[in-house]
């Protein structure tokens, strides 16, 4: 696109022109090439489509579009056939010809590519009938399946940048007021009201003022920010430009995690397009307002996502948190007033402006408004990204949308909010998910990570795992986090290895409380969550480890023994064959035995046994 849009009217005209040029009845193939689908081989499928379409001379007859993540990553690569909205999953290169021949040319539905409910076996033809999608409210994320992130026309075709035009015609204070009314809270973890932050930054003295988009997304397993930036970069840009105008900022940064090259590429393409179109840079849409953006690659460490560490990193210094004596809204980047918001927070802004703060405030719970994107992973059938209104129950998310626990095992707990979130047990499955409720039960919203655990998970081992992660990611600056987490890690290792002592639980609790209250930044102050919440809900497991030297879930190697159930063993000798250390022995057709002194608890015997005769205790 090289035309410069010089006014609101011209924008409208352009949008209409693009829409008019698009025939809604024209057959279309939309293929997801988001992170999950790429991992499932979506690029090969895309190449196959291109080739087959050309071969059949269909390129003018069909729209073929590659988009960012649709969220149902478990089922990738995914294809949507328009205008009917037929949903195909697990599409392979071999299926491409069939799809073109049968579905596109003849209108037939290919049964084998449809999604079937794993429980009931029921099949669904259309995307919006699939429970995973049907139960979501995909306000922010839904557009991902409609736009090719590298094609700005796609974004304009869905009325993209209309909110910007609307905002530029408003008073900056009125924009801030809409965001305050909407009660949009930060999606990056802290949940701080965005409107209040905007207000403070706009009132702060000093220039220049900066707006920054935090796309560092360091939570392992979370990828909503990545999917938004990769899949719909213009939405984030639009939010930021509106924010900049409201705050009175002329310079912005997008701080993108180093491991997200595609996000960097797509956002850079979008910035270039927006600049060329007069949506960024000098005199945006002829309004007299000027604003421009730079993209920065992140410093790599988890803690770099913390606001003061992020500023330090942007300034070219070590990405470490600083003690804050003044709010970033007054002295942030280069000690200038700075408004930092998360990717998803920014992405919500255009909708608020378009539909009004009151509309937005109508969605969600008392103090948590709008929708939230969660990344659902772990022992769950439908892993992926889901967007639901605040206040949706955990059960709905896990069972109805998430399709329940893998292999029909039993749900044990769910960890929300990333590595430093707490673990919530079954008893709370019906709680509405929002900022305050999650905090009440000892966890947090964080950036929206959700890890589902089944009965095979040892909660002590889990706490050890996350504490270990957090202790290694601690920047080392303040005492409670640096020394305290290290102590907690050591105590947990001792417990899981059978060296736990009576007073350890109390020690963990008191350490945890002090770290929570005393750490300098939120990494430290949230880091005890996994330990404290598992002690709160699964104290008996800790006690079993310490007092009985037993791991109830059968996970902690030092605390379990492998033995053979004589009632089930058929003497097939398989265990003896696979045991790498010769601990499992026995004669053919006779009950086998495992020598506990030799056994390394690798679990090979249990995996190989066809008769479930290996007992772990």
């Amino acid at each position: 696109m090289t035309i410069k849009i010089k006014s609101f009217g011209e924008l409208k005209e352009l949008q209409e022109k693009i829409k008019a040029g698009r025939d809604p009845r024209k057959p279309g193939i939309t293929l997801c090439v988001g992170t999950g689908c790429l991992a499932h081989g979506a690029m090969k499928v895309a190449d196959a489509f291109r080739e087959e379409i050309d071969k059949r001379g269909l390129s003018v007859k069909i729209d073929f579009r590659k988009t960012g993540c649709h969220g149902f990553c478990e089922r990738g690569p995914m294809v949507i056939i328009s205008p009917e909205n037929i949903f195909y999953q697990h599409v392979k290169v071999e299926d491409v010809g069939d799809i073109l021949e049968k579905t596109i040319l003849k209108g037939e539905v290919i049964d084998g590519l449809l999604y079937a409910n794993p429980q009931s076996g029921e099949k669904y033809v259309h995307e919006d009938e699939v429970p995973f999608y049907k139960l979501q409210t995909r306000t922010v994320f839904g557009m991902n399946s409609k736009v090719d992130p590298k094609n700005m026309e796609d974004y304009l075709a869905v009325d993209g940048y209309s909110a910007l035009a609307k905002a530029l015609a408003m008073n900056p204070e009125d924009i801030v007021r809409e965001v305050v009314t909407a009660n949009l809270r930060g999606r990056g973890g802290g949940g701080f009201p965005a409107g209040r932050k905007w207000e403070e930054t706009s009132k702060a003295k000093g220039s220049p003022k900066y707006v920054i988009c935090n796309a560092d997304e360091g939570d392992p397993g979370a990828y909503m920010d990545r999917s938004l930036l990769e899949g719909n970069p213009h939405l984030v840009l639009e939010g930021m430009i509106i924010g900049a105008f409201a705050i009175g900022s002329s310079e912005g940064y997008i701080y993108v995690r180093n491991e997200y090259p595609l996000a960097v590429e797509n956002i850079n393409v979008a910035i270039k397009q927006a600049r060329e179109a007069g949506l960024l840079g000098e005199n945006i849409l002829g309004s007299g307002f000027s604003f421009d953006l730079k993209v920065n690659r992140g410093g790599g460490a988890f803690v770099c996502g913390e606001s003061s560490a992020l500023f330090a990193s942007l300034e070219g210094r070590a990405g470490e948190p600083r003690a804050k004596y003044v709010h970033a809204t007054e002295k942030g980047l280069y000690d200038k007033p700075t408004n930092l918001n998360n990717v998803e927070t920014w992405a919500n802004v255009p909708f608020i402006i378009q539909n009004g703060g009151d509309w937005y405030a109508g969605i969600g719970t008392d103090h948590s408004k709008g929708t939230k994107i969660f990344s659902l992973v772990g022992k769950i059938n439908n892993t992926g990204l889901v967007e639901v209104p605040m206040g949706t129950s955990m059960r709905e998310i896990v069972f109805d949308i998430g399709g329940g626990i893998l292999n029909n095992r039993k749900f044990k707990a769910i960890q929300t909010g990333g590595p430093s979130g707490g673990c919530i047990p079954e008893a709370y499955l019906d709680m509405p998910v929002d900022y305050d409720e999650l905090t009440k039960v000892g966890s947090m919203m964080g950036s929206g990570g959700m890890i589902v655990m089944d009965e095979g998970t040892c909660m002590v081992d889990l706490a050890r795992y996350f504490t270990n992660f957090l202790a290694s990611e601690s920047c080392g600056k303040c005492v409670p986090c640096r020394e305290g987490l290290q102590r907690m890690r050591e105590i947990l290792v001792d417990i899981t290895e059978g060296r736990g002592q009576e007073a350890d639980i109390e020690l963990l609790e008191s350490l945890g409380a002090s770290i929570k209250d005393g750490a300098l930044c939120a990494l430290g102050s949230s880091a005890p969550n996994p330990v404290l919440s598992t002690i709160r809900y699964f104290r008996d497991e800790y006690e079993a480890h310490i007092k009985e030297k037993r791991c109830p879930a059968g996970v902690c190697k030092a605390l379990i023994t492998y033995s053979v159930d004589p009632a089930k063993c058929t003497g097939c000798t398989l265990c003896a064959k696979v045991c790498p250390v010769g601990a499992a022995t026995g004669e053919k057709k006779k009950v086998h035995a495992i020598d506990p002194d030799k056994c390394t608890r690798c679990g090979a015997c249990k995996e190989s046994c066809q008769f479930d005769a290996i007992i772990v205790r």
Binding site: A323, S472, E473, K477, V479, P480, L511
Partner: protein
């Protein structure tokens, strides 16, 4: 003013203060560990936690601003337990090697743990030692003792303006490490703020801990800033380290590498122990009495014959010693006293006197200036502490710096504008600045009433008010704007300016036009510890070469001075050979001793009593820290006696006489300083002509006039030598044109000869300029020029 309640007590404080500050001002104690008065709050130890109503968890009082209406609780069981817990956590990985630690007895961790009743720790852990090198060899980092409070790297950045060290690694692996070794200036600021024994100095071969040592306060002997420091002395004779702990002005516990690590020359093996005479090229040790008698007789005989005697006294000698030298000189016919102070401080003082500018200044006034001009002075080498004050003004008050220097001075990196005129062309820059102030009517209106205004107005109007040739116009405009917009301006200048009379006049005229020193200050850096003392005490002071070259001067007595350090050695040798009698009194072997008939030992600063007058005019006490006679003073005193003059009971008696002479007065706080003799302000005439540079390169000597006690015939301070060395530096542009890279040997030629030495290519140097740092190779470098100068013209070719 805001009001808040702390522990039930209503207190008032200024807006912008932290809760900790508010508490301390009101005598309320909150334990702290990482906090340090001189640093911005770090917030790493979390010991200063307090409860503040309205916050859901405790806040660190060192980082939390006090707000009107706050209700703060500083002591509670809960807070005490948290503090205990954090201390325990610190102690867990801190080795209990207190009996082995240099800091034993003065460790803040010991103190605060004691206060919090920590008897044992509930955890155990061992911190690994990565054994990485610290950026300076003068400091050792004990990783396992480090509590990662962060003070050291904050000090490095905030006080010294360097970024040599940082915290690296994650979590429990975190440690302090060199991140930019070359940035380290070995100031030891990190060492001095470390609350535990994690940083220790490596210089002294013997260590002594606080209860074994005596601590004697004194004044730094190395430059004229007048830093107050404390010598840690073992057995009344060996200095084992320098500490700073009293927070005394002007340096408030900061020092530069010389002050902190330049003490070891006192203990040097090469010290002159006994007097000797050079007889037929042989050194012959003689008794004190023989040396005294010989000297007295020689001087008397020459005086009686009407022949002149010259004295060259070091500007590092005490006032008392200089006074005695003057007394001796006064008792002889046709005598003159010279000093190396004449080159810089002497010229500045004369110009100040002539223009009615007071030589006294208050370093703290720097903090009130919005724009600070640093001209021809590298504060890394001279008056380093002034650079710290300037940085403080930048950090705390948002001051801006304009550097005017062909070289990369130590503040250039934080300067808003760095103008780089050729050496000697500074006059053009200051005249253009003055010219523009006049043209825009933005000069101080008071200036109009001063004598000489019409004259300089006329001469400046004849000159251009635009950026002089070779100076970037935009940068010049920026510098001008910063100066014109500032209410108060501070002008700091060094020997780069005094080396050229026109430049000095132009700078001072500019300063007066801008309303200085009333609105701001104008200050010369003081090169040597007692340069101003020498200038004030010696009447009709000569330059050393005047005495050397003067045939009427038949004998010369060098008191702690070695002219080979700043003059052409060949010239010195020839002149001295023509003298009938040469005596030297000094502490370590120097080149001039070869030409002396008699050599007598002197005492180092730590071995004598007396005083210095620092560059700002304040009187600093020099105290005796090491036992033994004060050789130099005693010799001078006895010599006075032999010459039939009054002798003194002690150095204090001399001080008293100086006092009575009216040279000293008391300031408002009762501290002694030089008596002010400033007259009426006036402009200097001249200062408008700018010399032509004919030579290809202008070579600027740095570190000239420096303390030969650090290095002369040998290297006497391991401390200084481990971080300082001779160097010839060239700009990248010139290096490229000449096809030179670092390490290449070049031949320098000037009017008196040539010498070969390796070059280093360095950023920040102006094209056409060479930077020559002198440390121990004065002879080679100074031999190429016939005249004594800070800057000389040279040609250069690749060897």
């Amino acid at each position: 003013m805001i009001r808040l309640t702390i522990d039930g007590k209503e207190v008032v404080t200024e807006e912008g203060r932290t809760i900790l500050e508010a508490a301390r001002e009101n005598g309320i104690y909150i334990p702290t560990f990482c906090f340090h008065e001189k640093l911005l709050p770090i917030g790493s130890c979390r010991l200063c936690l307090v409860d503040v109503d309205g916050y859901d968890k405790p806040m660190t009082s060192c980082t939390t601003p006090a707000l009107d209406g706050n209700n703060v609780t500083t002591q509670s069981d809960h807070l005490f337990r948290m503090r205990q817990q954090f201390l325990q956590l610190i102690l867990t990985s801190h080795p209990l090697d207190c009996p082995q630690c240099d800091k034993g007895g003065e460790c803040q961790l010991q103190n605060i743990s004691y206060e919090h009743k920590i008897e044992k720790t509930e955890y155990e852990a061992v911190r690994i030692d990565h054994k990485e090198a610290y950026p300076t060899p003068l400091i050792h980092y004990w990783e396992s003792r480090c509590v990662l409070c962060g003070r050291c790297f904050h000090a490095c950045r905030e006080i010294s303006g360097r970024e040599a060290i940082d915290i690296v690694g994650n979590g429990f692996e975190s440690r302090i490490a060199a991140v930019n070794k070359d940035d380290c200036i070995s100031c030891g600021e990190c060492l001095s703020v470390c609350p535990v024994g994690a940083l220790t100095e490596t210089l002294s071969p013997v260590k002594s801990r606080i209860w074994q040592s005596e601590r004697i306060d004194t004044t730094c002997p190395h430059c004229g800033f007048g830093c107050q420091l404390t010598l840690n002395v073992l057995d009344g004779k060996t200095i084992t380290k320098v500490v700073t702990e009293k927070n005394l002005p002007p340096n408030n516990d900061s020092l530069c590498v010389r002050g902190r690590f330049g003490y070891d020359f006192v203990n040097a093996e090469e010290r002159i122990g006994a007097p000797y005479r050079n007889l037929d090229g042989q050194k012959k040790t003689v008794s004190n009495e023989d040396a005294l008698a010989f000297t007295a007789e020689s001087l008397k005989k020459l005086s009686a014959a009407g022949k002149g005697t010259g004295f060259v006294v070091s500007p590092r000698a005490t006032n008392e010693e200089i006074y005695l030298v003057s007394r001796i000189a006064a008792s002889l016919n046709n005598s003159r006293v010279a000093s190396a102070a004449s080159y810089h401080t002497g010229k500045a003082a004369a110009a100040f006197a002539q223009m009615g500018i007071s030589p006294l200044y208050d370093y703290e006034k720097i903090q009130t200036c919005q724009t600070i001009v640093v001209a021809g002075a590298d504060l890394l080498i001279n008056n380093h502490l002034v650079a710290n004050k300037v940085r403080e003004a930048v950090k705390l008050h948002g001051a801006r710096i304009v550097s005017i220097d062909p070289l990369d001075n130590s503040l250039a990196r934080i300067s808003s504008a760095h103008l780089q005129p050729l050496p000697g062309q500074d006059a053009a820059v200051f005249n253009a600045l003055s010219g523009r102030l006049l043209k825009d009517g933005r000069y101080s209106k008071d200036a109009e009433t001063l004598e000489g205004f019409a004259g300089i107005k006329q001469s400046l109007e004849a000159l251009s008010a635009e950026a002089p040739v070779g100076i970037d116009a935009a940068l010049f405009d920026k510098a001008y704007k910063l100066i014109a917009d500032a209410e108060n301006v501070c002008v700091i200048f060094g020997s780069g300016i005094t080396g050229n009379e026109e430049g000095l006049k132009a700078l001072l005229n500019f300063s007066i036009l801008k309303g200085l020193p009333q609105k701001g200050l104008v200050m010369p850096v003081a090169l040597q510890a007692n340069a101003l003392g020498a200038v004030s005490l010696i009447e009709n002071m000569a330059a050393t070469e005047e005495l050397l070259e003067n045939a009427d001067i038949a004998s010369i007595f060098f008191y702690e001075d070695d002219p080979f350090q700043y003059l052409n050695g060949g010239m010195v040798k020839t002149s001295l050979a023509a003298k009938e009698f040469v005596a030297v009194c000094d502490i370590l072997p120097t080149f001039v001793m070869d030409s002396a008939g008699v050599v007598v030992p002197s005492a180092a600063f730590a071995e004598k009593e007396g005083s210095f007058i620092s560059g700002n005019g304040s009187l600093g006490a020099v105290n005796k820290a090491c036992k033994g006679p004060s050789a130099g003073f005693d010799f001078l005193n006895a010599l006075l006696g032999r010459l039939g003059k009054k002798t003194y009971a002690s150095a204090a008696a001399v001080t008293e006489e100086i006092r009575l002479s009216g040279l000293l007065e008391k300031d408002g706080n009762g501290a002694e300083r030089l008596a002010v003799k400033a007259g009426k302000l006036s402009f200097a005439t001249g200062g408008a002509s700018v010399p032509e540079n004919a030579d290809a390169f202008q070579l600027i000597f740095r570190d000239i006039f420096k303390n030969h006690h650090l290095a002369d015939r040998g290297i006497y301070s391991k401390g200084a030598s481990s971080v300082q060395s001779d160097a010839l530096r060239i700009s990248p542009v010139d290096a490229r044109e000449l096809g030179l890279s670092s390490g290449d040997v070049v031949v320098l030629t000037a009017d008196a000869g040539e010498t070969a030495c390796p070059v280093v290519v360095k950023n920040g140097i102006r094209k056409g300029v060479l930077e020559c740092v002198l440390f121990s190779k004065h002879n080679e470098m100074l031999s190429i020029s016939s005249r004594m100068a800070k800057t000389i013209g040279v040609t250069l070719r690749k060897a």
